[in-house]
């Protein structure tokens, strides 16, 4: 047991000492700050002043009316009406090019009858601008048509309600403070974090196994402790590094979200960025950590075996591609999971042990499902972890002492059966 502890200690200390550990640990939070900053920057820009020209081709007063109503609907837009004529479109184009205006809206009589309008500008890719323009234009058109049919202007104005649909997730019977966007971000964040962490620490185990194999240190080690003890020590040591790094990331995410929240309270006028750190419920966090650990053990065992059956770093990198693809399935399906957390696919993803480590926390984060499913999923995963570790340790035992070419699948089966 003391020897296993020494293996764990070495694995942990040597990895924590590397430059990459510190870069990774610090880079995580820095990346988070960068994302928020970037989002705030974008949001800030999105809310800026816009110079819009309205090129009026109508034969009625509708155009002028539209201009003033748009102006009222979107105060940050400055709308100037320009009567259509020869060369007007060209000169407006030149204005846009010279950045004196952001763009121009072309309306004609058919706008009122068919709803046809055209906007040309340098800001068309700004979703915020276009959504506001679209919504305002629709409202004005709606009112204009009703008035045309003789409905009282006041009545129309009263009938027009600005809709503000807030989305809130229901957890159990409680309403959470989480918005739809945040819910999405939670799922997305968990999927990325689980994928990256399981893969990264799994590969760490692989290269550590490979180092001992290529330097032949493994012979000395195996003459002192059982191969299984050595493998378990390695897996736990590298996993401990993972836990430390993940903790740093999660804690800094919590702190950042707190800071962001306070900043939002202090300055309510500021435009809220679209990226907000979600408030993750404890149950989700527990499930996340549980599935990370089990998923890590599952894949670390496989990676240890892959390292043991390879002779060079290049060979190992090639051999681990199928493993990586296996882990990629639930990662890539996170969108489906979030879209419909109770679909048949989602349930299957939760049950298949090679996929559940990523799929289950993501699905739970999107919408908690019956606890019985969770219990079944965990049981399947646990049994698989034990079985895979057993198989991997047998491959490991034979593989670490092998040199030469990589074994075929048939040879691997023989290793497992005779080891």
């Amino acid at each position: 047991m003391r020897k296993v502890l020494a293996v764990i200690r070495r694995e942990f200390v040597e990895r924590v000492r590397t430059r990459w550990f510190w870069i990774g640990t610090v880079l995580g939070p820095v990346l988070m700050i960068a994302i928020i900053g970037f989002q705030m920057l974008l949001a800030g820009q999105g809310g800026g002043h816009r110079e819009i020209a309205l090129m009026d081709r109508t034969s009625t007063a509708f155009g002028a009316d539209l201009a003033s109503q748009l102006q009222r609907a979107i105060p940050r837009f400055h709308v100037v009406r320009v009567a259509a004529g020869a060369g007007v479109a060209d000169s407006l184009l030149a204005e846009v090019e010279a950045k004196r205006i952001d763009g121009y809206l072309m309306v004609s009589d058919s706008t009122l009858t068919d709803g046809a309008a055209e906007y040309r500008g340098s800001n068309v890719s700004s979703i915020g601008d276009m959504e506001q323009l679209h919504a305002a234009l629709q409202r004005v058109l709606f009112a204009a048509r009703l008035e045309e049919r003789g409905i009282d202007t006041l009545l129309v104005q009263q009938a027009q309600v600005t809709l503000n649909l807030e989305t809130h997730k229901i957890m159990g019977r409680k309403l959470t403070g989480e918005s739809g966007t945040q819910s999405f971000m939670t799922g997305f964040g968990m999927a990325i974090l689980l994928f990256v962490a399981i893969l990264m620490y799994g590969v760490n185990v692989m290269s550590s196994v490979l180092e001992e194999k290529t330097t032949r240190v493994v012979e000395v080690l195996v003459s002192s402790l059982k191969p299984f003890q050595l493998m378990v020590g390695k897996v736990i040591g590298a996993g401990a590094v993972g836990i430390v790094q993940l903790s740093v990331w999660i804690v800094s995410a919590k702190l950042l979200s707190g800071a962001q929240h306070r900043a939002a309270l202090a300055n309510p006028a500021a435009i809220t960025p679209s990226f907000q750190f979600p408030n993750i419920p404890t149950a989700t966090l527990v499930i996340f950590v549980l599935y990370f650990l089990l998923g890590y053990f599952l894949y670390a065992g496989i990676y240890a075996a892959v390292g043991a059956m390879s002779s060079t770093e290049a060979e190992a990198r090639q051999a681990q591609v199928p493993v990586q693809l296996l882990l990629m399935v639930p990662y890539l399906s996170f969108f489906a999971l979030l879209n419909d957390p109770n679909s048949r696919i989602a349930v299957w993803l939760t049950m298949i042990p090679f996929w559940s480590p990523i799929a289950t926390p993501v699905r739970w984060g999107a919408s908690p499902f019956p606890v019985i499913q969770l219990v079944v999923s965990l049981s399947i995963l646990l049994v698989t972890v034990i079985f895979v570790t057993w198989v991997a340790s047998r491959i490991y035992r034979v593989g670490i002492l092998m040199t030469g070419k990589r074994p075929s699948l048939r040879e691997l089966v023989r290793w497992v059966r005779t080891a």
Partner: protein
């Protein structure tokens, strides 16, 4: 007689396609330097790995210090594998501490001894350096230290002297002799007979996984060497070739240039050979009755072919 440090009892190891070790039995007495000799591919490393529990024998058993096998006694056994290597990116001192922990030593005790050994082998200033910053020779020394830090009763060295320059080889030899003098047992494998002859008290010669002969060096020489004559010519060889070919006098002659090693036929008198040489006008600078060299015994036993194969690098096999 005290319990042997190591008993190997009819162990067999088969790998896909061939038998690497075939019902091999050895007995290594306590407190000796035992040379496990054989050409490459003879099964030396495989035998050593079975002794250490790295490989599981397909048949037979290994006993260390009277009971149990390698891993049970890992605290009492030091092992220097054939292919050397350490953790390249670790500091020298950390590697030593870790490997000592694997042998059951506490870090505190290990640190004291490691610093002592590093100092003794001239590596004190390198203890905080990473292994890959050291020269190959230094790395070998560090690895050697790692095998003796826990003061093992049995030290097993596979191809003990391979890759060492003469200076380091001498350091290693001195250290090994010193350990023996303090009552430790050393099992070393080599295919370089000159080294084995100078160092070993006991030898076991194996080829193709089977034991050919074992015993004390003196016994092996007596029973397998016969009576030998060493001859050096000083110019003229006279009728030497004809005399050496006379089977009534000489059973086997190993002549090359001005030197010859002869094995006397039973009942022959060395004086008759001397007389014949002198009368045939040969000029001699040396005529000596001697023990056969270990190399000669080795070549005779394993055959010249296998002995030559021993000069080639070993082909990796598993």
């Amino acid at each position: 007689m005290s319990t042997p440090a190591l008993v190997v009892d009819r162990v067999t190891k088969r790998f896909a396609g061939h038998t690497a070790v075939d019902a091999l039995s050895l007995s290594v007495p306590s407190g000796v330097i035992y040379g496990l000799l054989g050409p490459n591919g003879a099964g030396k490393s495989t035998t050593i790995r079975m002794i250490l529990n790295i490989y599981v024998p397909d048949g037979g058993s290994v006993q260390l210090f009277g009971e149990g096998s390698g891993r049970d006694h890992s605290a009492r056994v030091g092992y220097l594998p054939e292919e050397r290597g350490l953790y390249n990116r670790m500091r020298v001192i950390d590697v030593l501490l870790f490997l000592a922990q694997m042998k059951g030593l506490s870090r505190r005790v290990a640190r004291g001894r490691a610093l002592e050994w590093l100092d003794r082998l001239g590596l004190a200033d390198w203890r905080m350096r990473k292994v890959n910053e050291l020269s190959k020779g230094m790395q070998q020394k560090v690895q050697f230290i790692s095998t003796v830090l826990h003061e093992p009763d049995l030290l097993i060295m596979d191809e003990a002297f391979s890759g060492l320059d003469p200076v380091n080889a001498q350091v290693l030899k001195d250290t090994v002799l010193d350990l023996r003098n303090r009552g430790k047992t050393i099992l070393l494998s080599t295919h370089i007979m000159e080294q084995a002859e100078k160092l070993c008290d006991h030898v076991g010669i194996i080829a193709r996984g089977k034991k050919l002969v074992d015993g004390t060096l003196a016994d092996v020489k007596r029973t397998h060497g016969g009576r030998h004559v060493l001859v050096n010519f000083d110019g003229a060889r006279g009728d030497a070739d004809r005399i050496f070919a006379d089977r009534r006098l000489v059973t086997k002659a190993d002549a090359s240039g001005p030197f010859a090693e002869l094995e006397l036929a039973s009942g022959a008198d060395a004086q008759d050979i001397l007389k014949a040489l002198v009368t045939s006008q040969a000029r001699l600078s040396r005529f000596e009755l001697a023990e056969p060299s270990l190399n000669k015994i080795f070549v005779d036993l394993v055959g010249p072919e296998a002995a030559r194969a021993a000069e080639k690098p070993e082909v990796a096999h598993a």
